[in-house]
Symmetry: C2
Subunit: 338 residues, 2 copies
DNA sequence: CTGTTAGCGCATTCAC
DNA sequence: GTGAATGCGCTAACAG
């Protein structure tokens, strides 16, 4: 078991003291060129690497930030994390990943364990109903940034997309294309993002003189099966809808596949718009219209907000609530050809 | 600026010593029930949380492991990391993510910075040509596990898929379907995984009495444009191939889209098999045959190998070289209907 | 059962 | 310019 070399080892070898070695390594205060070079040289010789743990303990900065997401293998979150890492790595920060799988207790656990690990900040897409865990973060005075799924808290920053606008524009697009009976596959509306997409949908109908029909809104989880099941239910209605705005791309896909089985032509007889701009929506032969959430932008900005926060010398917390615009991407599943 | 409460704070408040508090918190040796309960109670009252950094510095275990991948927003790597996190989190380990973007110097940087951070292990999918950086890891005696893209080193474990078998079976499938002029969109064959897929392809041709034609092998990067360009080149050959085994799903997709533009029927006139089982391959209307790499399995096993390594008390390194079987997934792009 | 001491590796203050 | 001493927060060894 080889021991790691410390500054004491190299100090001893050189017959000097650890403090001098430290100074040489950080080329801080006044130190003679000769000893400095000597130290640097023997440092590499002895394969020395600084123990950031000791530094962290001393300075109180770990240069680690925790990132908490439901799942990392969803393209949306993967992209956000990618952007966060790209932004923070050059500044010397490491990213510690926690997955909650949408489970509240796991999320609370993650927060605790990150606090224990002395992270310098927490960036989180929260599935939490409580705000108590976040109060604990604030009490410890460590920066907290919400992204995508936020909690509204004084002094806490957030970066989200305008889900209302996204839902509104998607629905408006369908209306302008001439569809009049537009249904909505909604997510769980106790989660803010899904509530807002739903509200945007509803408002677009109202603003354009279309009747809002409660039966046309079906809570659907983000998978193909749910999407196709929801479509089946919708088709049983009288009158049946002739378009869907789905709060999730996968549900939209399921609906489209079901439409195909029923030989209903998309988009001529029935249009579909999804949400998230998952990669597959672009690749389909019948490409799927969707709402882009610019995850890279979101991650980048969340990281920047965090950096501002740690850089700020004032004790007062800066609260930034950034709302990114969405972009409606019109593809074949809703683009009527004249 | 609120200070974090330490065991000294709670010791002082109780008029006892820090050591006692520590013992109470870890309910280790013999300690009176009364003081223990008292300590525990005031600990929550004072909102105490253990500083793992100090513990790490003392014990030499940080309970952090570094995971290094090219990019985290690729489904394959995202899934691997998901599995690693799921496996390691219950054991108290945190995952630190580093992205290399396939850049060798960034990879070396990542390794250094992880070593500095005193990680307990490094799990890496390496884009590196050198093995020197890994020698530094071994010199520090910290467990190293390669996944997907390995380096062959004595005493170092790895978890990879059988790329040769994957390439072989994909090609064999095309042969059995009756295609005789089978081309290969290869990745950069200086990387082992691409070399092995290529070798599997070649061997399948040879074993089945088909001529191996150098012109039928085109180095193609993993994107749609490259795929469609490669297809164009292939069609200029005389005789042109009538099937492709592509080492990447995206290149396969590009080829298929190009075939469609040229009104060449897939799979009747031309078959395509990709590699990786990216989500979109399943969702396409013309679903794409591909080779599954079981990323979840790979991540899980890599994590388990790491855990075995840290658990092992013996000084000698355990070397496990695990090769996971691939699974050929036959879909419409290569399934001739009789 | 509990207090005392020491050390993990480093940077920093105060002397010289 | 360099050495000596100190503390970051915690645990483990040794006393009592």
């Amino acid at each position: 078991m080889k021991k790691k070399t410390t500054i004491y080892d190299i100090a001893e070898k050189l017959g000097i003291t650890a403090a001098t070695v430290s100074r040489a390594l950080n080329n801080n205060s006044k130190i003679s060129e000769t000893t400095k070079k000597l130290v640097l040289k023997t440092a590499v010789e002895m394969n020395y690497e600084q123990n950031k743990l000791a530094l962290a303990l001393k300075s109180g900065k770990s240069y680690n930030v925790g990132v908490v997401v439901p799942r990392i293998d969803m393209n949306f979150f993967g992209s956000i994390i990618r952007a966060i890492e790209d932004e923070l790595a050059p500044k010397g920060y490491h990213i510690i990943i926690c997955q909650t799988h949408g489970d509240e207790s796991k999320e609370n656990e993650s927060i605790d364990t990150l606090l224990n690990a002395q992270v310098d900040g927490i960036l989180i897409s929260s599935s939490n109903k409580e705000i108590e865990p976040f109060n604990r973060v604030l009490a410890k005075n460590i920066p907290l940034v919400f992204f995508d799924r936020k909690k509204t808290m004084k002094g806490v920053s957030s970066v989200v997309i305008d889900d209302f606008e996204g839902g509104y524009n998607a629905t408006l697009h369908l209306i302008k294309q001439g569809y009049t009976r537009i249904a909505h596959l909604s997510g769980n509306r106790s989660i803010e993002i899904y509530k807002n997409r739903y509200l945007g949908y509803k408002q677009a109908l109202i603003d354009n003189g279309l009747e809002f029909n409660e039966d046309y809104v079906i809570q659907t989880s983000s998978d193909r099966i749910s999407g196709s099941n929801s479509l089946k239910s919708l088709l049983k209605l009288n009158p049946a809808p002739n378009a869907i705005f789905s709060a999730s791309d996968l549900a939209a896909l399921g609906a489209i596949q079901e439409l195909k089985l029923k030989h209903i032509k998309v988009p001529n007889e029935f249009a579909v718009v999804g949400f998230s701009n998952e990669p597959f929506t672009k690749f389909m032969e019948l490409s799927i219209s969707t709402v882009d959430q610019s995850p890279l932008e979101m991650g980048k900005i969340a990281a920047q907000v965090f950096l501002e926060q740690v850089a700020s010398t004032t004790d007062e917390k800066i609260e930034k609530n950034i709302v990114l615009p969405t972009e409606l991407i019109i593809r074949k599943s809703s683009a009527l050809v004249d």
